[in-house]
């Protein structure tokens, strides 16, 4: 047995923009144990329900995370709509799907970029982020914000998207497909990239399921679990099959995310094709009462929202359970036994979003 050393990773680390701290116990170059400590981003946002009324909380919940901000706003609004027992009009549903899938695309492209950065492929990182800007442009043109959109409200949406803009979105996305394919080819066919990702962080289907992995982590190990398949919030009208890969390693997970980007383009096109004319809001009146739980598929996996109301304008309890929290467990299982140089790739393969996790 070699001598043991402890290498701290984070909270300020060049690979990850976000603060997470891992104490890596090393034996020579091999990791034997990883001890996480979190809490650097904890704000205590759920408790804000006592100070902000239920409409204002929609803005707060968008700021759970700046990457999937739309999805969080959407999830919160859907939970409240459950409490009020209102159904949003179809047009609003499809617009929400459109923005939700655009969020997924931009989140996955962001992740692909960071992943490329983690294995030191700088130009690939830039390429991924260049493509991502096109999606942010669509967001800016339709909602007014690049990152924080504030477009969902309880009962519907704040703003509609005109028909010619919808056409333009489809054109932009179709124009991107070629470039995305080029990007995908590098990630999937390049020899050096394969060397870094194939066979790394292997998880079998049972293992992944047992330790509670979510989203692309789970689907990369061959388990077809995707909350979009639940047949809710408009997805029941779309043709949708979860993307599944069997490999269970970093390569398979990259592949899942790349295929999901293409799938999102397809879903957006379907949603725009089905979008009816009409209003975008069913007004809610009064104050919420009761309990509601909503499950949704975020770019990183399943997210759960729970709200409890007591008939006042302030909720009694609001709770979010985010996918990264579930994915930290598989990460801790994967780290022991790997080389120190592979740690950044393994940390990134779970697509960590610390500010979601700690709120």
């Amino acid at each position: 047995m070699g001598k043991r050393t402890v290498v701290p990773f984070g909270p300020q680390h060049p690979v990850l923009p976000e603060p997470i701290h891992l104490d890596l116990v090393l034996e020579d170059e091999k990791v034997v144990e990883a001890i996480p400590s979190i809490g650097f981003v904890h704000r205590g946002l759920e408790k804000l329900v006592e100070k902000r009324d239920y409409q204002e909380m929609a803005y707060v919940s968008e700021r759970i995370c700046g990457i999937c901000s739309f999805v969080h706003g959407h999830g919160y609004c859907e939970t409240l709509e459950g409490l009020f027992q209102v159904e949003v009009p179809d047009r609003a549903k499809f617009l929400r799907i459109m923005w939700g899938e655009l969020s997924r695309m931009h989140s996955h492209l962001l992740w692909l970029g960071l992943m490329a950065d983690a294995f030191g492929f700088e130009s690939l990182f830039m390429q991924a982020w260049r493509l991502r800007e096109k999606i942010l442009d669509i967001f800016e043109q339709t909602t007014g914000g690049r990152i924080i959109h504030s477009v969902c409200k309880v009962g519907g949406l704040w703003r509609d998207v005109p028909e010619d803009m919808l056409k333009k979105i489809v054109e932009t996305l179709e124009g991107m497909e070629g470039e995305l394919q080029e990007l995908a080819n590098v990630f999937l066919k390049d020899y050096t990239v394969q060397k870094r990702t194939q066979g790394l962080g292997k998880m079998s289907a049972e293992e992944a399921f047992e330790c509670g992995a979510m989203g692309p982590m789970l689907r990369g190990s061959g388990v077809a679990m995707d909350m979009r398949g639940l047949g809710q919030s408009g997805y029941e009208h779309l043709k949708f099959d979860p993307v599944v890969e069997q490999g269970g390693d970093c390569y398979a997970r990259t592949n899942v995310r790349i295929r999901e980007v293409f799938q999102s383009i397809d879903l957006i096109k379907q949603a725009i094709g089905l979008m009816p004319e009409g209003s975008i809001e069913n007004k809610v009146k009064g104050s919420p009462e009761g309990e509601c739980l909503v499950r949704m598929e975020q770019p990183r996996g399943q997210v759960i929202y729970y709200a409890k109301a007591n008939g006042t304008r302030h909720l009694e309890r609001f709770r979010v359970r985010t996918p990264t929290f579930a994915n930290i467990m598989p990460l801790l299982n994967m780290l022991p036994g790997c080389d120190l140089a592979d740690v950044p790739i393994l940390v990134l393969t779970i697509d960590p979003c610390i500010s979601c996790t700690e709120r």
Partner: protein
Amino acid sequence: MSYLPKSPWLVHYDASSCNGCDIEVLACLTPLYDVERFGVLNIGNPKHADIFVVTGSVNEQNRSVIQNIYNQMAEPKVVVAVGACASSGGIFRECYNVQGGVDNVIPVDVYVSGCAARPEAIIDGVVQALGVLEQKYEESKKKGAETSHV
């Protein structure tokens, strides 16, 4: 505008931001604006950096981290607080674990507004920070000259 004969290097720390401002800081470095072509580098080592870019507000846990990074930087140094959170606590200022803006812990020279702060605003903030850096540089030179004279 500044006439410093060198390009500033930044160190970025995400205090308790929602990621919104962080990815906008990164967006400045990537093809949209690509400030790296002017030699502005985002580097991991605080000892090499001139400008400290902080996003997000201060909480109990990260207080010491911010202080630590600041202390590691060499003089002259400038702090830029990016976003509403870093400036005052922003939307989270009433949360139980948020103690307010970064100026609670370290002196801040430039505040960038916005939630999320736009990349244009961030770049503008960094350019202003350059002005402050130059001033501090001049001052430190003067001080140095005075002490050597005595």
